[in-house]
């Protein structure tokens, strides 16, 4: 085998692209184009530090639901109930906080447990009874809407005032903590990449060329450090009343789950088996993988992640109402995963897809609002973007089928 070079890697990457393995590329390019469009049309607002920070808070719920959906989509299944599921979990937390006066240390775990239980039930129905996940979760979608309405006593709005909970998706880190987080994040990434590179070279395995490893590290730093600088600028409208600066708390929350999810999918036996079941159920079964257990587990993970999405949206609104997690939240979340590059056909998906796709969705939503366009135009445009992403997925599949075998 020849020695790997940066050029050779680029050629492989290009061959992969031509073979239909597009990954996050369309979403990243799309995101850049959108930022250029909105930035040039409404630069003073869209590109402001205030709006930039706002995007993270706005997207948190969708990103979390989408991260969970990636697991389900990897099996070629779907969870249509994740939106209202997150609403139910958020409501459980809000009711425990207000009606029962319990501390967040009880309310948040209770909401998460609700999510896990919901997911296990959905997963068992799909795996053991063999009902298509589309139908099970469609029924659950309707059911949870009812549960939410019932929990909220026919439609009241439960407001929360727990400081910790509201800070989760409204608060910011101090400037010093923001910089510490950014530097620690980049350093951690660099350490992991360099250690892996050194490990492979030491054992004589084919490793990425060091130039590419360094380029990745520098690339991440070039993204994270300027972003942190923007986020640590003063962004309060009237600085005499209040001061607002620092990375939103929700950023480390998202990054933590991004890292955990990526680790689980890439570095654990469970993650490997999820990919295998999504790629070829029969092969997975013959290899001795407990397929049903994997199915139940991914639904449990999806609903657990949706519960965190619910907690974060209730935190942001400081309240929960019968439409929390309703309207287009689920569709945006599925859209986020697919736009990011996760395949609807199973077997292909990464947690980062949820984050990048979620950014695309929120930038569209946010930018078009700033342009003063009405909801009708926004929905049409978002629909077209999702359609484009699904077409890329389907075409990539056809190309892959044509080039392989």
């Amino acid at each position: 085998m020849s020695r790997p070079t940066v050029g050779g890697h680029l050629r492989d990457y290009w061959a992969g692209l031509r073979g239909g393995d597009l990954g996050t590329l369309p979403a990243v390019l799309g995101l850049l184009v959108l930022i250029l469009i909105f930035g040039s049309a409404r630069g003073e607002t869209f590109l402001s530090a205030l709006n930039f920070a706002n995007l993270f808070n706005q997207s948190a719920q969708i990103v979390f639901i989408a991260m969970g959906l990636v697991f389900v989509l990897l099996l070629g299944e779907i969870d249509l109930s994740a939106g209202f599921g997150s609403g139910v979990c958020g409501a459980v937390m809000a009711i425990l906080l207000t009606d029962h006066g319990l501390p967040w240390t009880v309310a948040i775990p209770a909401a998460m447990c609700t999510g896990v239980v919901i997911g296990i039930v959905l997963g068992l129905l799909v795996a053991k009874l063999g009902i298509p996940s589309f139908v099970v979760t469609l029924a659950a979608f309707l059911g949870f809407q009812g549960v939410l309405l019932t929990l909220l006593g026919g439609g009241r709005n439960v407001a929360i005032n727990d400081e910790f909970v509201t800070s989760l998706n409204n608060g910011t880190l101090s400037v010093r903590a923001s910089w510490l987080l950014a530097v620690a994040g980049v350093a951690g990434f660099a350490l992991v990449r360099l250690l892996r590179w050194r490990g492979r070279v030491a054992r004589g395995l084919v490793a990425e060329p060091i130039g590419l490893v360094l380029a990745r590290i520098v690339g991440l730093a070039a993204l994270v450090l300027p972003a942190t600088w923007v986020l640590t600028l003063e962004r309060a409208v009237n600085t005499q009343i209040t001061s607002l600066k620092g990375t939103p708390i929700v950023v480390p929350v998202i990054v933590t789950f991004l890292v955990i999810g990526t680790f689980v999918l890439n570095r654990t036996t469970f993650g490997r088996h999820v990919h295998a079941v999504g790629g070829n159920v029969e092969a997975a079964r013959r290899a001795g993988i407990a397929v049903d257990r994997i199915r139940v587990a991914v639904f449990a993970i999806a609903s657990f992640m949706a519960s965190i999405g619910g907690i974060l949206v209730v935190s942001r609104q400081s309240s929960v109402d019968p439409n929390t997690g309703g309207s287009n939240i689920l569709l945006y979340s599925v859209g986020a995963a697919v736009i990011g590059g996760t395949s609807l056909f199973g077997g292909k998906g990464k947690i980062i897809h949820a984050v990048i796709g979620g950014a695309v969705i929120i930038v569209i939503e946010n930018g078009m609002t700033l342009l003063g366009l009405n909801s009708g135009v926004k929905f049409i445009f978002t629909g077209l973007v999702l359609l484009a992403a699904a077409s890329v997925d389907a075409l990539a599949r056809r190309r892959a089928a044509a080039s392989g075998g």
Partner: protein, 252 residues
């Protein structure tokens, strides 16, 4: 040649309701040899393989492994003995790479985390021992491999897991000439490394190219089990189509 067959079937019978599919079938698989299992459609080849691999339980007869009588009640039992069946519709996951496929279900972990480096080393060594050099990178998804390469990966997986008897169901059925040659070469090497190989094939060229023995089934019975050097092409075809050979054509 070893004194006892690795796997020996004696008097195997199997019926499904009133239909007797296998009647008094015998088969011996010797280590280091390729035994071709031939027979027309419906002769009972697949049923026999399913009896060996534990999917069906035979109604009659005995199975000896290493000279000891064993009962194979489930695919797990078969795998436990070291019997691996590679079916036509390859059990590979397209979206996983070669290493991931070879270790699927038996991943090596290091403190709870997948030990990719060790797995890659072992996979590479196994492929090298089989002189498989046609794959450019162990880290490419198997969807990018050709049909022949996929077969060789599946075979290498059996070797990696120290299988002792490998049964290949029509491994070359969907392949072109060059790829067929490539797969047959690996099949031969598999036997040369001491495994017992059963090759199910309709293709007489393949059978004569790699086999040491030929077992022919005819309407659920063993028509003959012969050394490949003792028979001609035409005689084998006759065994397959009429269940007898050697006498027809020549005046007796």
């Amino acid at each position: 040649m070893a004194a006892t067959p690795l796997l020996e079937l004696r008097g195997i019978g199997k019926s499904f309701g009133p239909v007797q599919v296998l009647r008094d079938v015998g088969l011996s698989v010797w280590p280091g040899e390729v035994t071709a299992l031939v027979g027309d459609n419906g002769a009972g080849k697949s049923t026999l393989v399913k009896c060996i691999s534990g999917i069906h339980t035979p109604d009659a007869g005995t199975v000896l492994f290493d000279g000891r009588e064993v009962s194979i009640g489930s695919p797990r039992d078969a795998a436990g003995l070291g019997i691996e069946v590679l079916y036509q519709d390859l059990a590979l996951c397209d979206n996983l790479d070669i290493v991931q496929n070879m270790f699927l279900g038996r991943e090596i972990r290091w403190g709870g985390v997948l030990d990719e480096a060790t797995m890659e080393e072992m996979a590479g060594e196994t492929l090298r021992n089989l002189s498989i050099r046609t794959v450019a990178s162990l880290r490419q998804p198997v969807s990018r491999l050709s049909g022949g390469q996929r077969q060789t990966v599946a075979i290498a997986k059996a070797v990696l897991w120290k299988s002792r008897v490998v049964i290949l169901d029509e491994p070359t059925a969907a392949l072109g000439v060059a790829q067929t040659a490539q797969v047959l070469e690996v099949v031969r090497r598999l036997a040369d490394s001491g495994l017992g190989v059963v090759l199910i094939s309709h293709n007489m060229n393949d059978v004569f190219a790699v086999s040491d023995r030929i077992a022919a089934l005819y309407l659920g019975r063993t028509a003959a089990q012969v050394k490949v050097t003792d028979v001609s092409h035409a005689q084998v075809v006759e065994l397959i189509t009429s269940g007898t050979s050697g006498r027809s054509g020549a005046p007796s």
